[in-house]
């Protein structure tokens, strides 16, 4: 374990810092200034706990995913039990604990897309990339997620790669879409 150069009090990752009373921020400074400032701003608010979800969201936007370390750090900073934070983080679909691929593919499986054959698109993607929904390719290039409904029902079925929306996709166009993002068979 590293010694803590700045804080007098031992933090979560220091020796002797595991006790209940320890509230010092982690000496490794897990979060960048921007997130720390945001958390402190939220703490000024009455009902600061209600900002837990926006804070987790900000962290995920920065790092791409959440880890137990991040959750513990939030627990320390916000004085909320870790158990509660992991309870919240695992409840909502927005939060992920797995790093996503460089190219994030979302297949919308809302009703309109489903009726128009989105399940076939997902199948085709899974076949081509040889991974399942929720997984990442071994080279980290692609990940497939399922979206509940992106609200573009009139363009159904849709696939979203990173921020680009492909509308009225047919199964045989899937390979071309992947190729646009550097996929090689």
């Amino acid at each position: 374990m590293d010694t803590n150069p700045t804080n007098q009090e031992p933090c979560c990752c220091c020796e002797g810092g595991k006790s209940e009373e320890t509230r010092a921020p982690c000496c490794h400074q897990v979060f960048p200034e921007e997130i720390l400032n945001y958390i402190h701003e939220c703490l000024q608010h009455p009902h600061s706990e209600s900002f837990l979800i926006p804070i987790l969201n900000k962290i995920q936007q920065h790092f791409g995913y959440l880890t137990p370390e991040y959750l513990d750090e939030v627990a320390h900073l916000m004085h909320i039990p870790s158990a509660k934070i992991s309870g919240v983080a695992t409840f909502y679909h927005l939060f992920t604990f797995v790093p996503r691929g460089k190219n994030r593919i979302s297949v919308c499986l809302g009703t309109a897309c489903y009726v128009k054959g989105a399940a076939k698109l997902l199948e085709r993607l899974e076949d081509l990339l040889k991974i399942k929904e929720g997984q990442v390719t071994p080279d980290g290039q692609f990940s497939i997620d399922m979206a509940r409904c992106v609200g573009a029902c009139a363009l159904a079925p849709v696939i979203i790669v990173n921020d680009r929306v492909y509308s009225e996709v047919k199964p045989d166009q899937v390979e071309k879409i992947l190729q646009d993002h550097g996929f090689q068979k």
């Binding site: 927005l94 009726v115 085709r124 849709v158």
Partner: protein, 721 residues
């Protein structure tokens, strides 16, 4: 001291002046639709290309702006060209190449590019004027068909057939002045027409261009601004837009434009001349019911919260639109965010809340951005915050993001989510109106409900009551999608039949296939067959038919949709969205889903149907919240109307629609196969063999039943059975 109303009128004057200076002085205005779906369809590239053209012609007086989504989603991006004294021209599916042509031909040379325009069903796009006769139920009783005939005859007699088009609209909510007709682009509304007056109008107005003030209606309704721009297109002409009145009409990022269309006037009126109780009474009298699905009377909900003696109360707008297949809340916020703020302000005043929240899905980034921008602009102009309009009323609004949990649409779960906890429902009572957010009295209203409030206040409860049916007043927005020709947002008066929505507005089924079912209410709703198409859309009729109004998703299914598969899809959704708190929902939906999977895999047993029915009844009566109580609806309604499909899956091991891959096989009819090799080349698992110009064969063992061969065969030789 100036009253709130005087202050508002002053603000509006200044806003209109600014808009006039920047926009309306120009002879040509080009507006480009801009919403999530429009942008997905390429609206940004179109906007940029128009700007490039504008730069190339710096002396040309043209204004380019953005508007929210008009709701004709499958034809996006939409571009509207508005010129003085001309009917606005609507271009559809515009791309940068089309922009070049539109700019060169239309903007520079005044020649409309016909082939890119949205078709006007009843006449040429370059007509000078359009006469729209209201064909709502009450006008029909007043013989509006004769009026329409009189117009057509008068126009023919005067030889104006090429220059004037006659169309018929759905009810425009102006029953007290019917039979009536609009004339565009002059925007004159003629009231209480008789064949004699019509003849007079034809001669003076349509021929010579002098509008006849003595027959014109000088009143104004909030809803009437949409029509002059879009009314001549069939899809829009059959609608009545109250909550979406400004979507596609104003720039959603401009407070000035909202003020110009009587924005915040309802709020000023309420703060100037109404007590909170009077506001509640007005909403009660209007008969407005919650549009989120439950249909609870809005005024009554407000009354419960208002009756609570507590210094702190909260007003929440529920924009956690989790229903797959519904996007009206997103469109409403993206197209007209200030309406939501104004509605919340009025509601907050009525119940005595100083703080409002909008709980919105994080999956709607553009809506969030526009909402936050609107809040900042409203604050900066004293329309939110402390001492609004100098009236000693304080009200502010915060945006809170949902994190993707369907159950958070439920009131108590939503409250827990705002509090920063897991979004799990609590037993009610106590209802949120008594003890809600942080234990304080809280009212939660859906986006559409809130958007109705300014209309109820300005146009009056009495007028609002004239729209709709006995138990359901006003209009309802539906997100029309699935296998229907015209997909998009549709707002119709309550009581319009499903048939009118699907066939008149929606244009019928895509590719002229046979209609099978219409699904309303999302995962909590049900599927209704063709024999129920004459059901009026209102809360009570849909419930009686075995579906629900829900938040307004309406998915159309054709002969190629398997109803067992659809039921499985919804159950799969509710099962994975079940929060797990109560056993009937957590375990019951899981077992129902297992049974449905078994049936679609061809392993169904005779006893499965009674089992499903038994479980459904149990889950319905024993679940804690609406999610569980409604979860069996898709299964029950499909069992009620499409039982034969379940039986075909179980007894004959066949999927009549050919969807469930375990029950489908593909083969090639040797008589029709010409050996073109198309299927062999496209087969993803290369299980088709055959020489060119010889019959091909599918290896049944290797076939993954993807159906590609069926799609690519041009000779109808691939058979699905």
């Amino acid at each position: 001291m100036a009253t709130p109303m005087e202050k508002l009128l002053d603000m509006r004057r200044k806003a209109i002046f600014r808009i006039f200076e920047h926009k309306f002085k120009s002879p040509i205005r080009i507006t480009i639709g801009s919403a999530t779906c429009e942008n997905a369809a390429g609206a940004n590239a179109v906007y940029e290309r128009f700007q490039e053209w504008q730069k190339k012609h710096p002396t040309l007086d043209v204004v380019i702006g953005r508007v929210g989504c008009a709701g004709r989603c499958d034809l996006e991006p939409l571009v509207t060209v508005v010129a003085h004294h001309q009917i606005p021209v609507k271009y559809m599916r515009v791309n940068p190449e089309k922009v070049d042509k539109i700019f060169e031909s239309h903007i520079l040379n005044g020649k409309v590019v016909d082939e890119y325009t949205m078709k006007r069903q009843d006449g040429p796009i370059n007509a000078e004027r359009v006469v729209t006769v209201c064909g709502g139920a009450r006008c029909l009783k007043n013989d509006c068909l004769n009026i329409e005939k009189a117009f057509i005859e008068g126009i023919q007699k005067l030889g104006l057939s090429d220059r004037v088009v006659v169309t018929r609209s759905a009810c425009q909510g102006l029953c007290e002045i019917g039979p009536m007709a609009y004339v565009y682009p002059d925007c004159v509304m003629y009231k209480k027409l008789t064949p004699e007056i019509v003849e007079h109008i034809c001669r003076e107005h349509l021929l010579k261009g002098h509008s006849l003030g003595e027959y014109a209606w000088d009143g104004e309704r909030l809803a009437n601004r949409f029509f002059p721009i879009f009314g001549d297109v069939h899809f829009f002409g059959k609608q009545l837009r109250l909550t979406l009145r400004n979507c596609g009409v104003i720039d959603p990022e401009s407070l000035d434009e909202y003020l110009a269309v009587r924005g915040y006037e309802a709020a000023a009126k309420v703060l100037t001349e109404m007590t909170p109780q009077q506001v509640i009474d007005t909403v009660k009298q209007s008969g407005l019911r919650g549009r989120g699905g439950g249909g609870f009377p809005t005024g009554q909900k407000w009354q419960f919260a208002a009756n609570q003696k507590n210094d702190v109360k909260y007003m929440i707008c529920n924009a956690d639109e989790g229903d797959p297949g519904a996007f009206m809340d997103r469109s409403a916020i993206e197209g007209d965010p200030h309406t939501i703020l104004e509605g919340l302000l009025i509601a907050g005043y009525a119940i005595g809340a100083k703080q409002g929240f909008v709980y919105i899905r994080a999956e709607y980034p553009l809506a969030v951005v526009r909402l936050e921008k609107a809040i900042a602009e409203a604050r900066a102009n004293g329309l939110l915050g402390k001492n609004i309009f100098g009236s000693n009323v304080d009200f502010d609004i915060e945006v809170r993001l949902g994190a993707g949990a369907f159950v958070c649409g439920e009131e108590t779960a939503l409250i827990h989510s705002i509090e920063g906890a897991r979004g799990m429902p609590s037993p009610r009572p106590p209802y949120p109106a008594i003890s809600g957010l942080w234990g304080k009295p809280t009212v939660i209203n859906n986006v559409e409900t809130v958007a109705n409030i300014p209309v109820v206040i300005l146009d009056g409860a009495k007028w609002f009551r004239t729209l709709g049916t006995e138990g359901s007043k006003g209009t309802k927005v539906f997100a029309l999608a699935g296998k229907v020709k015209n997909t998009g947002l549709v707002e119709v008066p309550m009581g319009t039949t499903l048939r009118e929505v699907v066939y008149d507005v929606g244009g019928g089924i895509k590719d002229n296939k046979a209609f099978k079912a219409v699904q309303t209410g999302g995962p909590a709703g049900g599927c209704l067959p063709e024999s129920y198409l004459n059901t009026p859309v209102d809360y009570d009729s849909l419930t009686a038919a075995g579906s629900i109004m829900g938040s307004g998703g309406m998915i159309i299914m054709d002969e190629n949709t398997c109803m067992v598969d659809v039921a499985k899809f919804f159950l799969d959704f509710t099962q994975s969205e079940s929060c797990g708190k109560c056993t009937p929902c957590r375990e019951g939906t899981k077992i129902m889903l297992e049974i449905l999977k078994r049936i679609t895999d061809g392993k169904g047993e005779e006893s499965d149907i009674p089992k499903l029915e038994h479980l459904a009844k149990m889950i319905r009566s024993a679940s804690l919240c609406g999610l569980g109580q409604c979860a069996p609806n898709p299964v029950l309604s499909t069992l009620r109307y499409f039982r034969h499909e379940y039986e075909a899956h179980i007894r004959d091991k066949k999927c009549p629609a050919g969807v469930c891959s375990a029950l489908v096989s593909y083969s090639i009819n040797p008589e029709k196969c010409v050996g073109c090799t198309a299927c062999r080349r496209k087969c993803p698992v290369t299980c088709i063999t055959g020489e060119p110009k010889k019959t091909h064969i599918i290896d049944q063992k290797a076939c993954i039943k993807c159906g590609t061969c069926l799609t690519v065969c041009k000779f109808g030789a691939v058979v699905r059975s």
